[in-house]
């Protein structure tokens, strides 16, 4: 059993009177690649945003290495620096170049010396195949390139967990592959990741664990062979059937 990094306990989130997440519990262990799937509005993204404290939890707790991150004892910014996040809309800093995007967090948050920060940024930009574009501004590169740069930015902080919020949903179809390839290579290196995705084939091939969510609760979780190929719950089956159409058997 590998080390537990994140524990989400009885997490609930309401916007006004609308309950988006209801008593969600789950655990992320070191080296896990967890795919979170589910229909739009099922609370997947909100769950991820709660994990990174971009949303305030209504009730419940998040434990990072066994320590509550909302108790006030843990500095929330320091926690976020150790939990990377990649957004659907990239959110690269538009006033900085690709290289500066990957350097600034290291310099200002982790207090890494300039040279080391630059070298590490180049190492990760090379890894995602963005080395030629280090001098470009975010407005000058394509969506797929932006997302790869955003992944390098998150990696340069050397986080323990990386959260992906629908990383390919805002991309043109021909760019989806290049981003998924990067995420796959990270999975191959046993990077701990939590991926909200609509790419079922990706979830099947890359995840060690799949979580199916509906109406703010986790309906089913387990290895992809179970959840995707042999779903127990009626809602999971229905979702997969609708999502995959005729291809459900092929999974």
């Amino acid at each position: 059993m590998s080390e537990t990094i994140l524990e989400i306990r009885h997490l609930s989130k309401t916007f006004g009177s609308h309950a988006v997440l209801k008593d969600v519990d789950f655990t992320v262990r070191k080296g896990d690649v967890t795919s979170i799937i589910g229909a739009s509005g099922s609370g997947k993204s909100t769950l991820l945003r709660c994990v990174n404290l971009l949303e305030t939890l209504t009730t419940g707790d998040i434990l990072f290495h066994g320590e509550s991150v909302i108790s006030g004892k843990v500095n929330q910014s320091a926690y976020r620096a150790r939990v990377g996040m990649v957004f659907q809309s990239f959110n690269l800093f538009s006033n900085l170049t690709v290289l500066q995007n990957c350097v600034i967090g290291q310099r200002k948050v982790n207090r890494v010396p300039q040279k080391e920060a630059r070298d590490r940024a180049l190492y990760y930009l090379n890894k995602v195949g963005m080395l030629p574009y280090i001098n470009a501004r975010p407005s000058q590169i394509s969506g797929g390139q932006k997302q790869r740069a955003a992944i390098a930015r998150a990696l340069a902080m050397e986080p323990e967990v990386l959260l992906f919020d629908e990383p390919t949903s805002a991309l043109d179809p021909e760019m989806v592959g290049e981003v998924l390839d990067v995420i796959k290579s990270l999975a191959a290196e046993r990077m701990t990741m939590l991926v909200v995705t609509h790419e079922m084939a990706f979830a099947r091939d890359v995840s060690s664990q799949v979580v199916y969510m509906a109406d703010g609760v986790i309906v089913e979780e387990g290895p992809p062979s179970q959840v995707l190929s042999d779903p127990q719950d009626l809602r999971t089956r229905e979702f997969l059937r609708r999502f995959l159409g005729q291809n459900a058997e092929n999974l």
């Binding site: 059993m1 590998s2 262990r29 080296g31 896990d32 690649v33 990174n52 971009l54 305030t56 910014s77 320091a78 926690y79 976020r80 620096a81 150790r82 990377g84 996040m85 957004f87 809309s89 959110n91 690269l92 800093f93 538009s94 006033n95 900085l96 600034i104 967090g105 200002k108 948050v109 982790n110 040279k115 080391e116 630059r118 070298d119 590490r120 180049l122 190492y123 930009l125 090379n126 080395l131 030629p132 574009y133 280090i134 001098n135 470009a136 501004r137 930015r153 998150a154 902080m157 986080p159 323990e160 999975a187 290196e189 046993r190 990077m191 701990t192 995840s207 060690s208 290895p223 992809p224």
Partner: protein
């Protein structure tokens, strides 16, 4: 028919040319200094006003932030809502009543009045500029662990500054012209020179013509300089592709702090069993 006009302008310029130039210099110094100080005031107010108040914050923090917002609101409304000429009179002649001192340095009072007035306008520009930044920029910064202060300083404010540069230019040009109302407390700006010269020579129109030309020259120059600055801040429209190897770029120094943060073991999809 313009012969007389040119002659009169010649007479006025020959006698008062250096006075006009001093007036121009004073106007420029006051307008530039006050715009810069006004921008600083505006940025401070804009930043303080946009500090997020979370429901979970300590009550004292929430109270202080709300009080701060109220104070800035009052400042903006008062100085935006009254004529600058009156503000000058108010402060210049009001000081002795409030502080018991005759506050008679005209430069200080003028700079104070125009700065504070510009600051009131800039506070709103900066607030609007910050609000117009994509929320994703805040989230991106938060997600790599930046606190609010770092997010503002390194990410949001540089973008805000670029976005509100046209507004700053607007304020600067307005200040070049509107510093003329400081003649009311005896500030020797460009317009005050006209009052003085026309009073002495009765050549109202020739002097007014000089003034019109002078002001237009100043504002056109300001527009041009601001456009240039805007272009500079926009950055280059091209970038160079880097075709060098990463190891060359880092001069073999890529072995930073240690290994990768995760184990580079074989691909294993299954969770290990205990």
């Amino acid at each position: 028919m313009f012969e007389q006009l040119f002659k009169d302008i010649g007479i006025v310029w020959a006698k008062y040319g250096t006075v006009y130039l001093t007036g121009i210099l004073n106007t420029l110094l006051l307008a530039t200094g006050a715009t810069l100080i006004g921008c600083v005031i505006g940025f401070i107010c804009g930043i303080l006003q946009t500090i997020p108040i979370a429901p979970g914050d300590f009550w004292l923090k929430r109270f202080l932030l709300r009080a701060l917002r109220a104070v800035i609101r009052v400042y903006v409304e008062v100085f935006r809502g009254t004529p600058m000429i009156l503000q000058a009179v108010f402060i210049y002649y009001g000081m002795p009543y409030f502080f018991g001192i005759a506050f008679r340095d005209i430069w200080t009072v003028s700079m104070l009045v125009v700065s504070v007035n510009t600051g009131a306008y800039m506070a709103e520009s900066v607030r609007g500029g910050i609000m117009s930044i994509d929320p994703g920029q805040f989230e991106g910064a938060k997600a790599i662990g930046m606190n609010h202060f770092q997010t503002m300083l390194y990410i949001i404010l540089p973008q805000t500054l670029r976005n509100i540069l046209p507004q700053i230019g607007n304020n600067y040009i307005i200040n070049v012209k509107d510093t003329s109302v400081m003649f009311i407390i005896g500030f020797q700006d460009f317009f005050a020179v006209h009052k003085m010269v026309s009073g002495a020579t009765f050549k109202y129109f020739p002097s007014a013509l000089l003034e019109m030309g002078g002001y237009l020259f100043l504002t056109l120059l300001a527009s041009f300089l601001l456009r240039t600055l805007e272009r500079k801040m926009k950055g280059q429209s091209n970038y160079e592709l880097v075709n060098t190897d990463q190891l060359v770029l880092t001069a073999g120094n890529y072995k930073f702090s240690g290994q990768a943060p995760y184990e580079e073991t074989n691909r294993d999809y299954r969770r290990e069993e205990p």
